[in-house]
């Protein structure tokens, strides 16, 4: 064998060995059952991850999972950080939000501009010791925004780690976005809640029942004065009176005592919000005379009413340090949603929580439910003892993300620094709540601005469809080449198969991600890889027709075709490069297999097939080439 040929075979052999070495982990991994994998992970975690990092990574669209793009809600953050908030401030924020949605510019910069248009300076709302000039304020705010993204990243990472997904990816993208990628998630809703929850826990006191009753009375009067009569006034009066009586009766049955019902009104004042006002919008819980109950289907209307300036004035006059907060869940068979009048002062906040874990309900009264047991740190425990000691008999609202989870009565001073959040319906709720409380509250809410979730069943189907197409396509091309170019075609076919092996090996080495479009890319490469060989073979045929000897024809064929092959494949490679730069995850997978496939096919088409031809030429006398 000539030296050149021997070298070529040696090179091919070495490359094959390396390819086999690269591919071995993937093969081993795919042959392990799920239990075997679990075992390895438990016994030798290091070896488990080492093995996995050498395999071909399956994309989310093939193994199922979630890919979420989050953005810190800058509007909310600015609102939280500001002092002296006035009407102009809120209006400016809303306007900025609308404008940023349209032209996607920087929120802070736009906010400054909007405020200036309104005649105010941003320093007015963020004044501080080190923050006097506009520049200082802006620097401060920028720092806060950037830090909030970093803190959110940390907190989310803690939450996801606790949740227990294998190999989660949580990364910052740019300076305001966070990417979360979780493979193998079976309950995306749960994950969305876990990620999106601010988890701000606050303990506040309820306003006492004297004040609350007064507020209820005044709001009731206000609503009565606004209810407009209908054309069928007489009949409606009757029916509503009857209805009112009915409702009173049913409420009686439920509560077993008198109820204060918003009664049917009489006056005819009409205004644009008239549709909001109707009887039965809210009730005062007769049991404690401290909780409002709003029928679930009337919640939106009542919410709007609470926003009205007249109602706000009532609250400002009767209960100046308090605000209305909704309950987190409907009660009494899901028919009513509770509404609490809560003092604004935060007695204790969630950042004092040292530990939180879920457990079955320890109260006999809530058997079958679950709860979260909280342990506070020292400072928190002291504050908790003081607050409970000073307010025995009063009700302490546990507020999570501005919704009242529950509001138990303080029975006794609590020194232990432990508390329980009860009334959770299932273990998952308890688990998730423990996770977010332990990891901490997000400094500002995060919005999900993009999401791709693929279920595992679709992933499996995609793998099957992709693999099937690849094998079928490969077979057809192999058969065609064998028929059209005979023995030479078979040589090209061998190169083709090696090509696929090499592509997989390279991907395994880099732990690259194989996506469904990536499989399509491999299939495309199968079709395109023959191109190089076709170019060479057609040339060889031409030269043979011109009368050259077999050896000469092969030489010329390879020689002349080489430049053309490189030129032609470069363009497709450039397209792949651009795609990789600008494409999203699955598309990048396609671009990757396309580029690797082109490089690999250049090698197999030129080096491998040439070596085989040379081998035949040297070891036998070939008078006629089977091509």
């Amino acid at each position: 064998m000539k030296k050149n040929t021997r070298n070529r075979f040696f090179l091919i052999f070495v490359v094959l060995l390396i390819a086999g070495y690269f591919l071995y982990p993937t093969v081993k991994w795919s042959m392990m059952s799920d239990t075997e994998k679990e075992q390895l992970k438990l016994e030798n975690q290091k070896a488990y991850y080492a093995l996995k990092s050498k395999t071909i990574n399956l994309g989310l669209d093939l193994q199922g999972g979630m890919h979420v793009i989050l953005e810190v809600d800058v509007k909310e953050l600015l609102q939280r950080l500001a002092t002296n908030k006035d009407e102009t401030f809120f209006q400016a924020l809303d306007e900025t939000e609308k404008e940023v949605e349209r032209n996607d510019e920087d929120f802070l910069a736009t906010f400054v501009k909007v405020l200036e248009k309104k005649g105010t300076n941003i320093t007015r709302y963020y004044y501080g010791i080190d923050r006097r000039t506009q520049n200082e304020v802006l620097k401060y705010l920028r720092k806060q925004i950037n830090e909030s993204v970093d803190r959110a990243l940390e907190i989310l990472r803690n939450r996801v780690d606790e949740f227990g997904v294998s190999e989660p990816i949580i990364q910052k993208q740019g300076d305001r976005r966070i990417i979360v990628e979780l493979a193998g998630v079976t309950n995306p809703t749960r994950v969305r809640n876990l990620i999106g929850r601010t988890a701000l826990l606050e303990f506040k006191l309820l306003e006492d029942n004297v004040v609350t009753s007064k507020v209820a009375e005044r709001i009731n009067q206000f609503i009565q004065s606004k209810i407009s009569p209908s054309d069928t006034a007489a009949t409606s009066e009757d029916t509503t009176k009857a209805k009112g009586k009915e409702e009173a009766q049913s409420l009686d049955q439920m509560f077993g005592s008198d109820t204060t019902v918003a009664k049917q009104g009489v006056t005819a004042k009409k205004d644009s919000l008239a549709h909001l006002f109707e009887p039965g919008l809210f009730y005062l819980n007769p049991r404690d005379k401290q909780t409002f109950l709003v029928p679930v289907d009337k919640q939106n209307k009542f919410r709007r009413i609470l926003e009205l300036p007249q109602v706000k004035r009532i609250i400002a006059e009767e209960a100046p340090g308090a605000e209305f907060l909704w309950g987190s869940k409907p009660v009494y068979g899901g028919k009513y949603i509770p509404l609490y009048l809560v003092r604004k002062n935060v007695e204790l906040s969630g950042n004092t929580i040292k530990d939180a874990y879920p457990q079955r309900s320890t109260d006999p009264s809530s058997y079958g439910q679950y709860e979260v047991s909280l342990t506070l740190n020292d400072a928190g425990a002291r504050t908790f003892a003081r607050v409970t000691g000073a307010n025995i008999g009063k009700r302490l609202a546990i507020v999570l993300d501005n919704k009242v989870f529950l509001a138990p009565t303080i029975q006794v001073k609590i020194n232990s620094g432990r508390a329980r959040i009860t009334g959770l319906d299932n273990i998952e709720e308890a688990q998730d709540l423990s996770i977010v409380l332990k990891a901490g509250a997000l400094p500002a809410p995060v919005k999900i601005i993009g999401e791709t979730t693929v279920g595992p069943s679709l992933g499996r189907d995609s793998i099957i469809a992709g693999t099937y197409s690849a094998i079928l396509g490969l077979l057809l091309v192999i058969i065609f080449m064998a028929f059209y170019y005979k023995l030479s075609g078979l040589i090209a076919d061998l190169a083709l198969i090696l090509n696929i092996v090499f592509i997989m090996a390279i991907m395994a080495y880099f732990h690259a991600t194989l996506t469904l479009p990536g499989i399509a890319g491999i299939i495309l490469t199968i079709g395109m890889a023959v191109d190089a060989n076709v170019l060479i073979f057609e040339r060889i045929r031409e030269e043979l027709e011109k009368g050259k000897t077999v050896r000469a024809a092969i030489d010329v064929g390879y020689g002349k075709a080489f430049i053309t092959i490189v030129d032609a494949n470069v363009t497709t490679f450039i397209a792949g490069l651009v795609l990789y730069t600008y494409g999203s995850g699955p598309i990048q997978g396609f671009a990757l297999t396309l580029m690797i496939g082109i490089l690999s096919s250049l090698f197999t088409a030129i080096v491998v097939t040439r070596a085989i031809f040379d081998y035949f030429l040297e070891t036998r006398t070939i008078k006629k080439l089977s091509i």
């Binding site: 189907d461 495309l524 030129d567």
Partner: protein, 308 residues
């Protein structure tokens, strides 16, 4: 086995016919695009929420639509996805409530309790992301064309790149046009397919150009020889062009039929693109090269005459 012996098809002579045919296709494409108000983007670019559900039994779209309309989702787009028990529901932007997908799931679960389903896929694209994706797509198409043409100009001369540019625009326009006529959605993978077509079509064109360059080297400079040489070059590479496109088409057709619903439109784009790309490499790129050269040469000769 041979499909093409020594052929001598008069590609250059019939080029006017090819131009006419291509112009017709391009006109149809542009008209269709104008009538439809541009390409039909899917939520990747317009933003919105998409849910793909797999029911246990075949499900009627009507039932789902009634349930969704009753809950306020009047403009939901509901389609079967390949099989009668798989459905894709699409809701545009507008309601900026976070968890549209969860809401839609529970609405459908309540409306059709007898036919359980699993959620195969959820895609939610906010307005910013969609906007960015459009920009990225445009940048990608722009840069790939620029880079590839620079490469062609480097390896060949400027006059070659004119034909290449023409072939490229021809291919992209007609592929988009076909999608418009059949009212198929353009998604991110389709843009990827377009870029692949750009690269692949040049592939073919360069093979012919290469042969033209090689053959021209063996001649003296003379304009009447150009047409014959180019024609001969096309004929010589015809076998290779058709076979390579053929093998690539085989695998893409397999992908179309067996690759699953998710890849179907992607495979379709590739089929159209490869077919059109091959056609343009043979009938458009090289003839334009000849015409361009003649035009330039004619001007040169006229100028020379004027001077003389």
């Amino acid at each position: 086995m041979r499909f093409f012996g020594k052929t001598n098809i008069q590609f250059i002579k019939i080029r006017r016919l090819a131009y006419a045919f291509s112009l017709t296709l391009i006109t149809i494409s542009i008209v269709s695009l104008i009538l439809h108000g541009g390409p039909r983007y899917n939520i990747d670019f317009t933003g919105g929420t998409l849910i793909q559900l797999k029911f246990e039994n075949p499900v009627k779209i009507k039932d789902i639509r009634t349930a969704l309309t009753a809950s306020g989702f009047k403009d939901a787009e509901i389609k079967h996805f390949g099989k009668p028990n798989e459905v894709v529901v699409r809701v545009g932007l507008g309601k900026s409530k976070q968890e549209l997908s969860t809401e839609i799931e529970s609405i459908i679960k309540k409306a059709i309790p007898t036919n359980p389903f699993i959620v195969d896929r959820v895609e939610k694209v906010g307005p910013k992301i969609g906007h960015e994706l459009i920009l990225d797509a445009i940048k990608a198409i722009f840069w790939s064309m620029v880079l590839i043409l620079l490469y062609v100009m480097w390896r060949f001369e400027f006059k070659y790149s004119v034909g290449a540019i023409a072939a490229l625009m021809h291919d992209v326009t007609i592929t988009l046009g076909v999608f418009s006529v059949f009212n198929i959605e353009i998604s991110s993978p389709i843009i990827a397919a377009l870029l692949t077509i750009v690269g692949y079509s040049l592939n073919d064109t360069i093979v012919v150009y290469d042969r033209i360059r090689e053959n021209l080297k063996l001649l003296k400079k003379g304009s009447t020889e150009l047409a014959d040489t180019v024609n001969r070059s096309i004929n010589e590479t015809l076998s290779r062009t058709v076979i390579t496109s053929g093998t690539t088409l085989i695998v893409v057709i397999v992908l179309y039929f067996f690759g699953g619903e998710v890849l179907r439109n992607f495979a379709f784009a590739l089929i159209i693109g490869i077919a059109v790309g091959t056609y343009s490499s043979i009938f458009i790129a090289s003839p334009i090269l000849v015409d361009w050269e003649w035009k330039a040469h004619r001007e040169h000769r006229l100028k020379a005459k004027a001077k003389a």
